[in-house]
């Protein structure tokens, strides 16, 4: 059975400047144990999508439409009690900034134990402490019996992210949503955390949705990739297809922008011109057309008609270009 099925998700925020259409018509499935990446830059709607999956848009004036089916049960239709039993037990989350993700007023042991106790009421204190200790040990915190009673500020960034992971995994969730889990960390620590996530995933059999702006991270640990731009999925494909035969001009631009260690000295980087659109005033038609080098070759079609995701080779792409041109994007010039 499909673990998670997101169908035609729309998320709109009300702000003083007008409605921000952060996510528009996003659909995807996640199978048990699978790793899926959602890639995009700021404003692409990737983090909003992640937060909507657990309805975490706390306190904001937000409207979520569509269906989010977790093993067939619609998360958007659940009442408070039902969604609470999903949060942290069936679906857990890791956040971007480990420095702010932990509650500064409680010890890390308390925070791990709390995550377990919420879903297992009546667990004796001694048992909870044992569980917290084991969790710290599993995520590689040295001297856990000493550090269990320390506060978050006494840990380094990498260690805090390990604790956040320990909290997420204490209930062995079916799905782990990792929202930019390594962005705020040093490069060498980043590698440790990615490794830990992969290792924990193998151990618990959880599926993972990895939200990131970094295509490099994607290539390392995921199987499937969805590229988002201005609130829409513009390409969805296997990792190999995404990197070897990207079928959307935006994906191509992102790939070309990735800095490579093998570049020659002063080798010019290909870049995507312009800036991402405002989500309040989205361009008509394809949201990418003002920055797209191919838009002109299609006459005015990109400005008027929003392309739908359709099969191109073995990928799905939302672009008006004919299939044979899309499949040859990386090779040919503009």
């Amino acid at each position: 059975m499909t673990l998670l099925s997101v169908q035609d998700l729309h998320v709109t925020f009300g702000t003083a400047d007008g409605a921000v259409r952060a996510v528009q018509g996003v659909s995807f499935d996640v199978e048990p144990g699978e790793t899926v990446a959602i890639v995009g830059e700021s404003g692409s709607g990737k983090s909003v999508t992640a937060n909507s999956l657990l309805r975490l848009n706390f306190g904001a004036d937000v409207r979520i439409d569509g269906r989010i089916l977790l093993e067939g049960r619609d998360i958007l239709a659940m009442d408070e009690t039902q969604i609470r039993s999903v949060r942290g037990r069936e679906v857990a989350m890791i956040f971007q900034d480990p420095l702010t993700a932990l509650n500064p007023f409680y010890t890390v042991g308390h925070q791990i134990a709390e995550a377990f106790a919420i879903h297992h009421p009546g667990t004796p204190k001694r048992e909870l402490r044992k569980i917290a200790l084991e969790s710290l040990n599993k995520v590689g915190i040295p001297e856990p019996s000493k550090r269990i009673d320390q506060y978050p500020h006494e840990f380094s960034g990498g260690m805090r992210q390990r604790i956040v992971i320990a909290i997420a995994l204490v209930n062995s969730p079916k799905l782990l949503i990792a929202d930019e889990p390594t962005t705020a960390l040093d490069v060498t620590v980043q590698a440790q955390i990615l490794e830990l996530i992969a290792q924990m995933q193998a151990e618990h059999g959880s599926a993972v949705i990895l939200i990131t702006h970094d295509l490099g991270v994607v290539a390392e640990i995921t199987e499937r990739v969805m590229v988002m731009y201005a609130g829409r999925v513009v390409e969805s494909a296997s990792v190999a297809d995404t990197f070897l035969t990207p079928t959307h001009p935006y994906t191509r631009g992102l790939l070309k922008s990735v800095k490579s260690l093998d570049a020659g000295r002063h080798e010019r980087l290909e870049s995507i011109p312009g800036i991402p659109p405002s989500l309040i005033n989205l361009p008509s038609g394809c949201p990418f057309h003002p920055r797209c080098a191919y838009a002109e070759s299609l006459g005015g079609r990109c400005e008027t008609e929003t392309p739908a995701l359709h099969l191109v080779g073995s990928s799905r792409s939302a672009c008006h270009l004919p299939d044979e041109r899309l499949l040859g994007l990386l090779g040919g010039g503009v």
Partner: protein, 330 residues
Amino acid sequence: MSETFILEARALRKYFPTGASKMLQRPTDLVRAVDDVSFGLRRGSTLAIVGESGCGKTTLGRLLARLIEPTAGSVVLDGVDLTAASARELLELRRDIQLVFQDPYACLNPRHSIGQSIGTPIRIQKTLDKAAEKARVRELMELVGLNPEHYNRFPHEFSGGQRQRAGIARALALQPKVIIADEPVSALDVSIQSQILNLMEDLQTSLGLSYVFVAHDLSVVRHIADEVAVMYLGKIVEIGDPESVYRRTAHPYTKALLSAVPVADPRRAAGRQRIVLTGDVPSPVNPPSGCRFRTRCPKAAERCAAEEPVLSARSGDQPSGHRVACHFPE
């Protein structure tokens, strides 16, 4: 020697005292943020300084621009010792060395228009009158790819990439010789990073600028550096021509940094061997004895704890300038 170098760091050190309570402070509690760093920046070239948080790269950048006083050592700009300059001389010398910051939003006054912000250094140094300043700012905006008609817009009306362009324009306002760029692209989106890096390259060629480019990641630097210095806990552990540093890496830390860079290619990502360092960077307050990297180094031996390795030419090398501080280089 100083003929070829526009900017030189000579045995620079910066120690910060720590501890919030002054009453209890022991004199030994010093953060050795920068500890005996020397290098030369060639005219018209780019030197990249790479390291993780806490390695001292940002402090080094500030020392070079003399925003902070070094504890010891000197900075020589075009033959003139900045550290010995008086306050008045310094004001003049500052024209030649300017900074670009990681977060352009933090250094643009939100109540000033972007044009006013770009013109600030001109007003402080009083190099031009009002009308000439405005003309110069428009010229600068054009130069960095901003629309001069947006002179009167405010920082919040611009995107991150455009604000960084404004930050660069401001740095260029006084026609400096050297620009210290402290992680100028790390806060930007991937597609925008390339735009800014390309812009910096173009400006270097057309204006003959020299850059010190501070970064936390070796891949960004690859495209623009003529020389790379890798820092760890306040010291340079490896320095040299990027061709040599990237392909014939000598220091285990540089190797780990390189291997930690995610590769955007699933075929290679699967095949390559990765060195994952254990633990975090130790505190610079009481760094490990001997070689500072030894606590995380896969090759550490007894000698590393006892004896501090000196930055010296790679053995069996042609004089390529590639130097490393390690007892057991590759």
